[in-house]
């Protein structure tokens, strides 16, 4: 009975969504995120969320005149928790990939950067030289999927958060890390732990593995929210607000082409 009731309500909700104009009635957005991804999403010394993603999320809510709340969630459960309605959208530097599109929908991208390897400068690592070496990645990310598919010659170590990859790379348990190059630079190389480390190899951008940029994920049935957020991002680009936030963190335009 209860399930039937829920299904009926859902039907009504979808029907209502179809007739009302997009963005008009998005009054509240509950963002889900994961905070181990400096400079996009991390925490200040007193435990507050901060970063590029955080500023973009709040700016989107400003445009939509919606109320914003933030919920933290471990990365390996971030999509299941969205579908379980713990929050309404994922704003956590998630790459828009075909595989993820099977379970969630994405807004248009809000930034796009390549992925690179990082290792000890003294080790002089190359892409070919990684054969037989150990590379650390965050579990459930595009970098993990790429390595599993394309580099069976590498031992992959998967960590719950990106910060733990940096800890073990600094400790010398792994030979290299592989991540979003901005995160490699700001989250590791420019920190104390990352002294003596450098990036190597090309910029990985191949859409098949690394997606078509970074987007915001919403549930499949939330077309209205998806449209509203996509429009809000475009509006942020047009109004100069995006560029203002961009300048706070980066010296170049991170939106990409």
């Amino acid at each position: 009975m209860k399930a039937l009731h829920k299904a009926a309500l859902l039907g009504v909700a979808i029907a209502m969504g179809a007739v009302t104009s997009a963005s008009a009635d998005v009054t509240k957005i509950r963002w889900g995120t994961e905070a181990g991804y400096k400079p996009f999403m991390f925490k200040t010394a007193d435990g507050e969320l901060t970063g590029f993603d955080y500023d973009i999320g709040n700016a989107i809510c400003e445009v939509l005149k919606a109320e914003c709340t933030w919920t933290e969630q471990a990365w390996d459960g971030i999509i299941p928790a969205l579908n379980a309605r713990k929050y309404d959208a994922i704003l956590a530097s998630m790459s828009i990939t075909e595989e993820r599109k099977r379970v969630v929908d994405f807004t248009g991208k809000y930034y796009q950067v390549g992925y690179r390897f990082v290792g000890k400068s003294a080790a002089g690592l190359t892409i070919e030289g990684l054969e037989g070496k150990t590379v650390g990645v965050q579990t459930g990310t595009v970098t993990e999927n790429y390595l599993r598919a394309e580099r069976p010659d590498i031992t992959i170590k998967a960590y719950p958060t990106q910060d733990e990859v940096w800890l073990d790379l600094a400790a010398g348990r792994i030979d290299a890390g592989f991540a979003n190059k901005i995160v490699v630079q700001d989250g590791f190389i420019s920190t104390d732990k990352g002294a003596g480390f450098e990036m190597f190899g090309p910029d990985y951008t191949e859409a098949k593995y690394f997606g078509e940029g970074t987007g915001i994920a919403v549930r499949k049935q939330d077309g209205e929210l998806k449209e509203a957020i996509t429009k809000a991002i475009a509006e942020l680009r047009a109004s100069g607000k995006y560029q203002e936030i961009n300048a706070k963190y980066f010296v170049f335009d991170i939106y990409g082409e």
């Binding site: 595989e99 579990t139 459930g140 993990e144 998967a158 073990d168």
Partner: protein, 227 residues
């Protein structure tokens, strides 16, 4: 809803996970008994200094969560250059070894408490009988008290075995691909929820089923067949 083919395709991942979990837990249990039994004897016999040390040890390891112990060992110690430069780094740089050390130390603390109680509960009459036969105190300890304690503590110890098996899932948080690690890898790769976790749950249950049978057999053999 459930995609069974996904599990079948990744059977090797789970097989590897089962192997890692079983070896990790059984070695830790063996190490726990080797460390815990002497500590239990030291405590129950009130051996000066050693007895007190054993008491502090079991308080520290039972007083803190296993996950915290594992993180201190794995991420904490790695922060010190001195540790990384030392000979200890050879084992500590390996996640599997770190998990094994943490599980062994943790299990030893619980085993100490289980055996301490059992050692104290051995019937005085049996001890006196041994002494009356002319055994030395040492002989009484190894021929009467310890075997009796091992026997009577079987039910409590079997709980520790199952407890440690379940607690061993924390290994998956430091990159060890145990059973839960395999489940998480599957979930992360295909963005699913149930497949990985349910397969892991079924595998743990299967191991517990086998363990329970072994424990029943041991209990029948050593606990209830006094005649």
């Amino acid at each position: 809803m459930m995609d069974l083919s996904l599990i079948a395709e990744n059977a090797h991942l789970f097989a590897q996970g089962v192997w890692v979990t079983i070896t990790l837990v059984s070695m830790a249990l063996a190490g726990g008994v080797l460390l815990g039994l002497p500590m239990a004897i030291a405590q129950s016999q009130r051996i000066p200094v050693l007895g007190r040390l054993a008491q502090v040890y079991s308080y520290v390891f039972r007083g803190t969560p296993l996950l915290v112990q594992l993180y201190i060992l794995y991420y904490g110690l790695a922060q010190f250059e001195a540790v990384r430069a030392s000979i200890f780094w050879v084992p500590l740089s390996n996640a599997y070894v770190c998990a094994l050390i943490a599980f062994t130390l943790n299990s030893a603390a619980y085993v100490t408490e289980i055996y301490r109680g059992a050692l104290l509960n051995v019937d005085r009459g049996e001890i006196e009988a041994g002494l009356a036969c002319g055994m030395t105190r040492r002989q009484v300890m190894w021929r009467i008290i310890v075997p009796q304690a091992l026997r009577t503590s079987l039910p409590a110890y079997s709980n520790e075995v199952i407890f440690l098996l379940h607690a061993s899932v924390v290994a998956s948080t430091i990159t060890v691909i145990d059973i839960l690690g395999a489940g998480r890898t599957l979930n992360a790769q295909y963005y699913v929820v149930y497949e990985g976790f349910l397969t892991a749950a079924v595998l743990y249950m299967a191991i517990v089923a086998v363990l329970t049978l072994c424990i029943r057999w041991l209990e029948r053999r050593y606990l209830f067949s006094k005649a």
